[in-house]
Symmetry: C2
Subunit: 323 residues, 2 copies
């Protein structure tokens, strides 16, 4: 059965049933003109769009993973503020000829990700469209948040996880790799298809006042570092050798560093730490993989230092939607 | 200049500049991973999607009015809850070949509507797309809100304004009518191109506890009345003769009642009022044009009563996105 056979009202009741059940803080969920929730004192709001043939390909992205990703990319933004997620609204513009099973799998993935992060879906909107468009808005809360503009000269620059995996996975997928098959590719495909938001790390960095600035890497390391420098009015020096690359990326790509610098969609955290806080950061323990990749400088230049110690301006690349 | 010449980063700074300035309650606006705002105790959230060639046509909808409408349809949802608007996030998926002036005019319309309702734009997302997709999420607040499920037998059914004008305007527009030209058409075109949210009426109905249930008419009177009946577990009797039709609609359409019943996008309020409150409703004064069109009944049937007093089941029509 296709969505156009189901019709708008039954699509909405399907979503409503799929997310039924009382959730703390939700006074009125899906099904009225607006949701009503208990508002936190300090409310975070973020939104992400995923557009078919721009951000994903329908034939290549399993709908369950797309459902997970469409929530998780928003949670990654909350992680980068140090926030705890609360509520989500889901907007779906869908072609009428899409199968109902596609929708069901998408919703099941969205629900998985929502449960894992204790997010309540409280509303949204449905429309038809020639191509799929997903618009998710998420709210969160925090008493302490970390902006992009707090980096100061001398701060160390850290990233979580490994970079470039997602961009490599995207390329493999477009060249015909299948998710759930080959091993080294598997890690890369997953990084693109099913990224994990670093909510716990971001939350701890904010609560313990360890980070002076933070952003999630969605456009790519160079662009997102540029954002921090631009907003903080500082420069940076990145030691290229210290940028964390997975062994899977090294195996799959001939230019792993280029992907790590500019591939984008890593959804790892990039954050700066004042020197006095670095030892306390180490105390967070081994469950958080973070790597010191350079330092914030007083100038406004962003430099790359290679293995010989030579410094050159870092080229700011990154993903561009408008081409 | 086209959006693809401008590029993503400059598009975002253009939006940021266009909505600069301190707003009360906004701790951190556009330009970080998430917005940070002071949260109200009772938070309302609503979202609406506008999709090119489904909800509007680019060539027919002046971008300034589209900007106004994309916020105002959300404010209409808040009005139907009795809420006061607070913040908005704006998601835009845009074709790269759209002119920058289109974007500027769209933003100027959005800004006008935001100022009029004291809404702060605090964030959003940008992506490319083959066709325009607008996703707006709005928050609001209220200590008292009105749901769809509170209607009880004996309550009177009211609507604000006149119905069917927007649907007639849409049809005229598609047949080549130009906004700002002919007089009777002007009113109808405006109802479709530039609807006004009934924020003040909705707010007063909620604050004075006059309405038992409320919804904004976006799908059409019959569908939206059906929503109230369905959620409240009641039926209704509508006096067809009492449905408010504008003289412009009567002049322009051969079947004005059909458009008023099922045309949709009226963005007027449909609400039920317990009999004891009706006289207090009259005290709201003449600035709110509201019309009593029938009553809630104990059964589950929705009936239409014609001028001779004969009752027939009301056909639930309305706009369907998936065709």
């Amino acid at each position: 059965m296709r969505l156009k056979d189901l019709g708008e009202r039954r699509i909405i009741s399907r979503i409503r049933q799929s997310f039924s059940g009382k959730r703390p803080g939700v006074i009125l969920g899906i099904g009225d003109d607006a949701a009503v929730v208990r508002g936190p004192r300090t409310l975070l709001m973020t939104q992400d769009l995923l557009v078919e043939d721009v951000d994903f390909r329908r034939a290549l992205h399993p709908p369950r993973l797309l459902g997970r990703k469409s929530l998780n990319v928003n949670l990654s933004d909350l992680a980068a503020m140090g926030g705890r997620p609360l509520h989500a609204v889901l907007g779906l513009a869908l072609p009428g000829n899409i199968g109902v099973t596609w929708l069901d799998e998408f919703l099941s993935g969205f629900r998985e990700a929502a449960r894992a992060a204790r997010v309540a879906l409280v509303g949204g909107d449905i429309s038809a469209a020639a191509r799929i468009m997903i618009a998710v808005t998420v709210t969160g809360e925090t008493s302490l948040f970390v902006t992009r503009y707090g980096a100061g000269p001398g701060d160390r620059i850290f990233v979580s996880g490994t970079l470039g995996d997602s961009a490599a996975g995207r390329r493999l997928l477009e060249r015909g790799a299948k998710p759930g098959k080959s091993r080294p590719a598997g890690h890369l495909l997953q990084a693109f298809l099913d990224p994990s938001p670093r909510l716990e790390l971001g939350f701890l960095l904010a609560q313990r006042k360890l980070a002076s600035a933070m952003i999630d890497i969605s456009d790519g390391l160079t662009v997102d570092l540029w954002h921090i420098c631009e907003e903080s009015g500082v420069g940076a020096e990145v030691e290229l050798e210290r940028i964390p690359l997975s062994k899977e990326l090294r195996r799959a790509s001939r230019r792993p560093l280029a992907l790590a610098l500019n591939g984008g969609e890593d959804f790892e955290l990039l954050f700066t730490v004042p020197p006095d806080n670095v030892s306390r950061l180490r105390h967070l323990g081994s469950r958080f993989k973070v790597m010191d990749i350079g330092r914030i400088t007083a100038g406004k230049k962003i430099m790359a230092v290679d293995s010989t110690g030579k410094a050159k301006p870092l080229k700011i690349g990154g993903y561009e939607h408008f081409k």
